[in-house]
Amino acid sequence: MLEYALKGNKKYWSWLFLLAIIIAAGFYFYMKQFNYGLGITGMSRNISWGLYIAQFTFIVGVAASAVMVVLPYYLHDYKAFGKITILGEFLAIASIIMCILFVTVDLGQPMRVANIFLYPTFHSLMFWDVLALSGYLILNVIITRVTLDAEHKSIAPPKWIRVVIIISIPWAVSIHTVTAFLFAGLAGRPFWLTAILAPRFLASAFSAGPALLVILCLVLRRLTKFDPGEQALKKLGLIITYAMCLNVFFILMEFFTTFYSGIPDHVSHMQYLYEGLDGKARLVPWMWTSAFLSIVSLLFLIIPKLRNNNKILFITSIIVFLSIWIDKGLGLVITGFIPTPFGKVVQYWPTIPESFISLGIWAIGIFLISIFYKIALSIRREIEV
């Protein structure tokens, strides 16, 4: 099937070439980081996780969100998702690979990564997260491979694959739950120490992920003969609406508990995020942008007329994606460290090498999605082979 990725028109190859350049730039900076150490990033003794782990956290959500198309299609036999289910699964594969890359570039000693398996440590959530993510990757590789192969040969997929697909549904929930547990179990970091972190992660994932899927579907429809179907788009819009409502609701619940209880350790992080602390307010404009975008997106989503208009849904999806990217891919991880355990406000901002490495990994993800979708659509003869 891979041969379909190797045939394409000039546009396809230029697109891949452009991505390859970004990947090469990222790789160049990673080599620099490999030689110099993680000191090349903006991370410090006080803010020891930064953009890499934040991107990882955000993208785990995108990976998990595949379940939002897989579940209706396979569990409820919701036929309208027939065309986009494979896109969701491929998105999951590309996302998990990005997650693995983001964690790997964050390691101080990447050559020793095998130690996680050589000395499996059951009381470490990191071990379980590695297990959950790699399991999810394997599940989705098997599922896409087998179902596409069947489609390629115009035969029904084998019955056993249904079992694998059913397993992948709770597994998707588990990857984001365990990722939330990485943070939510740390007694010394009050900002993350909230039982609603995992539900919040899931709600934000189930809005940002399907939003990305809407964006991809509409772009594909423009560029190719692929048509996700009006019904599928409408349903995705509805899923985003519910998930985004829950997401905003959960964030408001955090606000209530934090500010009404008024426990200084908890309030200080929120203060840093939304009004600045000790005169330091680097994330404040970002967080208010995120808040503003989420309110706008809710308006666009809740009003049926706006939601069911594909052009507006496209823009709304971008807004949802950006809003959650800021909230999760920037605010959530970094602010866990601000203020420090000593109550001091030390700020963080990614450096140029760090940003390029992150950009490179995003480019790898987009590269993978491009060739995966090319294969899937070629098999379905929705683009010229």
């Binding site: 003794r45 020891s48 390691l107 101080g108 000693q109 020793r112 130690n115 009381h123 350790d265 355990p341």
Partner: protein, 265 residues
């Protein structure tokens, strides 16, 4: 001094398990360690549970009333013998002992009306070598582990540099080698390993000295004798006596980590 030295010789045997950290340990100490292990099997096990039943529970008592303002003898000595680099900036900084203003060291106290003595006090802070260490709990490779006597150790050859321990530590006690530290060490102490970039490190109560029957370097060099070190499970130990006779506080005990550094205020 003699008396405390004898005490240390007593606990030396049990603490002479530095080998697990892959550190340099003189041959004769290694032999005595081997003997001890055969006698006390299980001592080398890298446990994580709270071991109140263990014979030895090492702890430190810091007498803030004695600790002199402006004095950095303990810090200097620690930096010197442990090959701690000086980058000249705070971003990549590595520190095992340092001083923090009282209100930063004890953020949870939230007491605006402190006595003058405490208000301007700079408190020496270290790794608390917690009885229930969250760093050990989260480490995915057991590169950081707890010994039977309570010391939380680092295996610099196993650490993958994920820094989960730094996120888990409620005390900001851990440092990461953001870059190669070796060019920034003034005089390398050949008896102690240097570290490579990409691994985490912290105070380990001078396990390399304990295994030779010596007290932690900071305790030894303190001109004010403000630091005491010993076995909490021994009612006759210096630390127990100090804690019995004085009011003591610990950093963030409410988190359940059971920190093993006690401050007399």
């Amino acid at each position: 001094m003699n008396k405390s030295r004898r005490n240390f010789l007593k606990i030396a045997g049990i603490t002479a398990v530095g080998v697990t950290a892959g550190k340099f340990i003189p041959a004769e100490v290694k032999d005595s360690t081997a003997q001890l292990i055969s006698k006390n099997s299980g001592l080398l096990k890298k446990g994580t549970a709270v071991k109140t039943d263990s014979k030895v529970r090492l702890a430190m008592v810091v007498d803030l009333r004695k600790c002199k303002e402006g004095c950095t003898k303990c810090i200097d000595e620690c930096n010197k013998i442990h090959n701690i680099p000086n980058f000249g900036e705070s971003k990549d900084e590595i520190k095992w002992i340092w001083k923090e203003p009282y209100e930063n060291a004890f953020v949870d106290q939230e007491n605006f009306y402190l006595s003058d003595a405490l208000k301007n006090k700079n408190v020496p802070v270290f790794c608390n070598n917690c009885n229930n260490p969250p760093c050990v709990e989260v480490c995915p490779t057991q590169a950081t582990f707890q010994r039977e006597d309570g010391i939380v150790m680092m295996d610099w050859h196993r650490c993958i540099g994920c820094r989960y321990c730094m996120a888990a530590c409620p005390y900001g006690s851990r440092s990461f080698n953001w870059r190669d530290p070796r060019p920034f060490i003034k005089n390398i102490n050949p008896d102690f390993p240097t570290r490579t970039k990409g691994v985490v490190e912290k105070c380990e109560f001078c396990d390399e000295r304990l295994s030779q029957g010596l007290p932690p370097a900071c305790v030894e060099v303190c001109p004010e004798k403000a630091l005491a070190f010993g076995n909490l499970n021994d009612p006759e130990s210096d630390v127990r006596k100090l804690l019995k006779e004085n009011f003591s506080i610990r950093r963030k005990p409410e988190l359940g980590t059971n920190p093993e550094i006690y401050y007399l205020v």
